[in-house]
């Protein structure tokens, strides 16, 4: 025989390699989750990691709808929040009755809460996709959020309902009082949920969800009812959102109406979209970045939401595939070994782009702090918001940066075309 393997052999090799890589990735993720708090052990970073973990589950659950089934929901926080409320109520009941239920089981209760609500409203909601679904999800979101303020016995009004996570029975000596123990509880659920949601995408239901996303009409002619498919996807999304809500309730020891609101629904849409909906890992990247930004930016500027808006618009306009989309676009170039020819043009383009971004930041902060506030400090350089020199600097950076950036990005596009042509010739790009 020659050294060229038969196609079936090559395929088999690829598959076993894929399985190895598959378990390898999850093993690495598990190790990372265990080791992270040992490296960054301050209280602040533990809190951040906990919030990021919850955001990852929440964003992945949202992507079951948006990325996998093509359902744009404006009310995903409803399942998240109701899961949180149910978790708090059950925790209080467990504590007062001294039931032998340990805390790590509580997120599952949240999941059941989220799924139960999805079961209840989902059939009507998922009858149609597209605008109809988006509008109903918005309506349900507002309905539940406003009910939470009215039904005080269930939702506790504005102050919400508190709980004490240490009042449940300890597990192997863990009381879950210290944040590190809560972190590991969250990390456990992040890993389990992520694996479960990944596995879901590989099942017949997961595959048909993709088909419904691409072409619901045709799905009807291969034996499937797209309504049922959407309904099932909606329930799974509700389940995992409820787990995230349950974890939040444990983390903060409270559930309040803010969990259910449009802000929270917007946050998850935002994280998922920025991360990229087309790949499973996209929402994970989005959740990490957005949560990190949210925690970091609130300390630096009072108008952090404005920056979120700018980033969101930027992603929608220039990189609709999100961060994951940008990364995966480079894969064929890496395989073909032509990425190196593009990087210099990236580095050149980075300078004016950075200048442009700094100009925007300076302009925003100038406006925000014009009538008072802390002095602006950009890269260690102090600026005075009321000084015309600051305005001029901002204008020069924005206009100059934009004009030069446009030229350099055109260069990037040209370098890309050359690299992609080579990659195509070598058979790494369709």
């Amino acid at each position: 025989m020659t050294n060229a393997p038969t196609p079936s052999l090559a395929a088999a090799k690829q598959e076993s390699g894929g399985a190895l890589g598959f378990y390898g990735v999850w093993l690495l993720a598990a190790i990372a989750l265990v080791v992270l708090p040992l490296i960054f052990s301050s209280g602040g970073s533990l809190t951040s990691f906990s919030l990021i973990g919850i955001a990852i589950i929440f964003a992945l659950s949202y992507n079951i709808l948006l990325g996998q089934t093509g359902l744009l929901s404006f009310g995903h926080a409803v399942q998240y929040g109701l899961g949180g409320f149910l978790a708090v109520h059950v925790m209080n009941a467990v504590a007062s009755h001294n039931w032998p239920i340990p805390l790590p089981v509580i997120p599952l209760v949240g999941g059941i809460g989220g799924m139960a609500f999805a079961l209840l409203v989902g059939w009507v909601m998922t009858k149609r996709a597209g605008t109809v679904f988006a509008m109903i999800s918005l309506g349900i979101g507002e309905l539940v959020a406003s009910s939470s303020l009215i039904l005080r016995s269930v939702f506790g009004g504005e102050s919400g309902i508190t709980t004490d996570r240490t009042s449940l029975m300890p597990l192997f000596g863990w009381t879950f009082g210290p944040q590190i123990q809560v972190y590991y509880l969250i990390a456990f659920w992040v890993l389990v949920s992520a694996i479960a949601m990944y596995a879901l995408t590989r099942t017949p239901l997961g595959r048909i969800c993709n088909a419904v996303r691409d072409n619901p009409e045709r799905v009807e002619f291969i034996g499937y009812d797209p309504h049922v498919v959407r309904y099932l996807a909606y329930m799974f999304a509700g389940f995992f959102a409820g787990i995230a809500g349950g974890l939040t309730a444990i983390n903060f020891e409270i559930a309040n109406s803010a969990y259910l609101g449009a802000m929270q629904s917007g946050f998850v849409l935002f994280s998922t979209f920025i991360g990229g909906t087309a790949y499973f890992f996209g929402p994970i990247l989005g959740a990490i970045l957005v949560t990190y930004l949210q925690l970091g930016l609130t300390n630096v500027t009072s108008v952090w939401q404005l920056y979120f808006g700018v980033i969101f618009i930027g992603i929608v306009m220039f990189a609709p595939g999100g961060i994951a989309g940008i990364l995966m676009k480079h894969r064929p170039l890496i395989r073909a070994g032509t990425l190196g020819t593009v990087i210099p043009s990236y580095l050149v383009a980075a300078i004016p782009t950075l200048a442009f971004a700094l100009g925007i930041i300076l302009a925003i902060e100038t406006v925000a702090r014009f009538s008072g506030g802390d002095p602006i400090n950009l890269l260690g350089i102090p600026f005075v918001a009321t000084a015309p020199t600051t305005w001029a600097a901002a204008a020069v950076l924005v206009v100059g940066g934009f004009l030069i950036a446009r030229i350099t990005w055109r260069r990037v596009a040209e370098a890309w075309d050359r690299a992609a042509t080579v990659a195509r010739d070598r058979g790494y790009l369709a």
Binding site: P204, N210, E217, I222, Y224
Partner: protein, 249 residues
């Protein structure tokens, strides 16, 4: 013997416009039946009625003896009827392999399963590979369907249609827009893949129709004016007058 498809006195109106009037059609099991007629005669509407895409205003449609008029498309599909579309209608962001595999899943009994790994279902894998081989797209299996050439997309369309193993296959202008060579290839493909099944085909290319069909029905203004073997249709003066003209000779 019950007919594979039996259409009895079906009418279809959109508002005041009657598209289909007193449609009667019978397709025997194992028959290759072509529906021809001028543009706007209601051929695609007839397809949509039989496959459940739209519901008849009145009348009755039977599939293998069972009444199917009023059922949803997926219910009719599960009873053994599968159709293709005139305008390519595939899952654009999914690969060729995934496209065909989705069409195999219901028929192999996996339905809405969320506890099985699709990649490790041997019969699904085997059947998908077989279909891809049949439609000559094995070498394109990992390409997103949206990136295929037009002729390849038409072949994939046929592949998705036959993948579920339906006993009645309906193809809506499968060779539309194809070159002469591509058409010949497609006809050979259709002939081979529908062996032993019932085939209903809408087609404009008369050489395809007369080469492939056992029986032909001529649809004019939503009504079937003649039904018979290719020879009978060729010789029918009503057909000549209404539609075929000199084309047949």
């Amino acid at each position: 013997m019950t007919a594979a498809i039996q259409v009895n006195a079906v009418e279809k109106s959109f508002g005041n416009v009657q598209i289909i009037r007193d449609l009667n059609l019978s397709v025997a099991k194992g028959e290759r039946h072509a529906i021809i007629g001028p543009n706007g005669a209601g051929k695609s509407t007839t397809f949509n009625l039989i496959s459940g895409h739209i519901k008849p205003t009145s009348g009755e449609i039977r599939l293998n003896g069972e009444v199917t008029s009023g059922l949803r498309p997926f219910e009719i599909n599960r009873r053994g009827l599968s159709r293709s579309f005139q305008v390519t209608n595939v899952f654009a962001r999914m690969t060729v392999w995934e496209n065909v595999r989705c069409a195999v899943l219901w028929a192999t009994g996996h339905r809405y399963a969320f506890w099985k790994n699709t990649d490790s279902l041997p019969e699904v894998k085997q059947r998908t590979a077989q279909i891809l081989d049949d439609i000559h797209l094995s070498h394109r299996r990992d390409v997103p369907a949206g990136l295929l050439t037009y002729a390849e997309q038409r072949e994939l369309e046929i592949g998705i249609t036959i993948a579920g193993g339906a006993s009645v296959i309906m193809l809506d202008e499968p060779t539309a827009g194809m070159s002469h060579a591509e058409t010949e290839r497609a006809v050979a493909l259709i002939r081979r893949l529908t062996e032993g099944r019932t085939l209903v085909i809408v087609e404009h290319d008369m050489s395809v129709v007369f080469g492939l069909a056992d029986r032909i029905s001529v649809l004019v203004y939503g009504h079937i004016i003649a039904s018979g073997t290719p020879e009978e249709i060729r010789g029918n003066p009503k057909v000549k007058e209404a539609y075929l003209g000199e084309e047949v000779d």
